[in-house]
């Protein structure tokens, strides 16, 4: 910055879907096809005993909170679309490891 005016220029919170990279999510869907049927009802997050919003299905990606999953399977019981959420969590973590990042 050349000149200080006493205020900053902000980037807005807009998500640019044109730049969205869905490769990770697509690869997960090859193994757990049913996750695409998610209609984002939030039952899985609501019932999770960890209470950290472990699963955020608005966009499948690795999230640090996943490591706190107890693998209890409660989310599996409540999903109205019958998504195998336990399998999904494991697969997201596996895929993340494959991408060469420590979980």
């Amino acid at each position: 910055m050349k000149t200080k005016f006493g205020f900053d220029i902000h980037d807005n919170r807009q998500i640019d879907l044109d730049l969205e990279d869905t490769r990770f999510a697509d690869e997960v869907a090859v193994v757990v096809k049913s996750w695409k049927a998610c209609m984002k009802c939030g039952a899985c997050v609501g019932t999770c005993p960890v209470g950290k919003g472990v699963l955020n299905l608005t966009g499948i990606n690795y999230q640090p909170a996943l490591t706190t999953c107890l693998m209890c399977g409660k989310c599996l019981l409540v999903c109205p679309r019958g998504i195998n959420t336990r399998h999904l969590i494991l697969e997201v973590m596996n895929k993340y490891r494959e991408y060469g990042k420590a979980v």
Partner: protein, 349 residues
């Protein structure tokens, strides 16, 4: 009753206008309002009256939560009273903020006549005056729209590139309060406003329809008034400028004094802050008001109408249109004495 944009037309009076000025326009574009009056009186032969007793509409204070609405209403009722005393019925408003505020107040009175009665009481108590609502109330750019072909007939210059013969690519920016609150009071409504497009087309240019065309300029009264919040304001201006950049516009024309000021001044600030410029070939995009655009078309001297007070230099635009000007006289006063130059205004903190 549902409309679509072609249905949004409005009645604009033919003659006998009572003109109210804008706080921001007369400060930042000091030649523009005299120019408007001069065009109306001397080019179009209209009767225009300006009252020396006229005051601010309180718009900036009102939108910043400093002035209560009853006060604003009483002040505006007083302007109506001045108009009545001078025997005029057609109100022409220079400022888009004022236009929005006047429209809003008339609408409030329409839905709540008791409120109007209350304000009549306040005005009478404070000043002994009484008022009538205007028979016709328009923004100044509406008047130019109505007489755009008459102006085109007298045009000395056209909005055409002198060298290539192609129409100039013009970004039109409509102040939010011109039509977003009351689309039926704006020509073409708010999504596809025609008020400035009409001028641009009639005078030979073409309008750029870019994605963020309807985006607010970023003025946002309570944002720019506090220095620490000005970042919100400038970020919106940047969104607009980034969106119009690929179209390589030759100029921006705005009918709102605040928009014209921000789109002009913030280009300087953005360049100073992170080096960004948005015009073709690393130039900035000149910004003019609707009156100044009409003035250029009608052949007024750029320095007579105040174009030297713009932050973005207009010389590139003047060259493109083929308007002659004397570079020596840019910062000269009427006696020919230099009153300053660009070097002197770089240290703004």
């Amino acid at each position: 009753m549902i409309h679509y944009w072609r249905d949004y037309q409005k009645e604009i009076a033919e003659d006998e206008f009572f003109y109210v000025r804008s706080c921001i326009r007369q400060n930042f574009f000091p030649g523009a309002e005299n120019l408007f009056i001069d065009i109306l009186r001397n080019k179009l032969g209209k009767k225009v009256f300006e009252d020396a007793d006229h005051t601010t509409c309180t718009g900036i204070g009102y939108h910043s939560d400093i002035v209560p609405i009853e006060t604003t209403m009483t002040v505006i009722a007083r302007q109506f009273a001045l108009m009545k005393e001078r025997g005029y019925r057609n109100l022409v408003i220079s400022c888009v903020t004022s236009f929005g505020l006047y429209s809003e107040i008339l609408d409030l009175w329409k839905h709540d006549p008791a409120l109007k009665t209350k304000i009549e009481g306040y005005l009478s108590e404070a000043t002994g005056r009484s008022f009538d609502e205007p028979a016709n109330m328009v923004h100044a750019s509406d008047i130019l729209y109505k007489f755009r072909y008459e102006i085109a007939e007298q045009a000395v210059n056209r909005l055409v590139n002198n060298e290539t013969g192609l129409p100039l690519r013009v970004v039109d920016h409509i102040g939010c309060h011109y039509a977003k609150t009351f689309p039926e009071r704006g020509i073409g409504g708010s999504e596809f406003p025609q008020v400035l497009t009409g001028l641009i087309k009639a005078w030979g240019g073409e309008t750029v329809d870019y994605p963020e065309r309807r985006h607010c300029c970023g003025f946002g009264f309570r944002q720019y008034i506090l220095q620490s919040s000005r970042g919100y304001s400038i970020s919106h201006s940047r969104t607009k400028l980034e969106s119009m950049m690929p179209y390589e516009p030759d100029l921006i024309v705005a009918n709102c004094p605040g928009c014209a000021m921000f789109l002009d001044r913030w280009q300087y600030t953005l360049e100073e802050t992170d080096g960004s410029v948005y015009g073709p070939g690393r130039t900035k995009i000149p910004v003019v008001t609707h009156e100044e655009l009409a003035g250029l078309v009608l052949g007024y001297d750029p320095w007579e109408i105040g174009l030297q007070t713009h932050q973005v230099p207009v010389e590139g635009l003047l060259d493109k249109i083929g308007i002659r000007y004397d570079p020596e006289k840019k910062y000269a006063d009427r006696q020919g004495k230099l009153i300053g130059d660009t070097v002197a205004v770089t240290a703004i903190v």
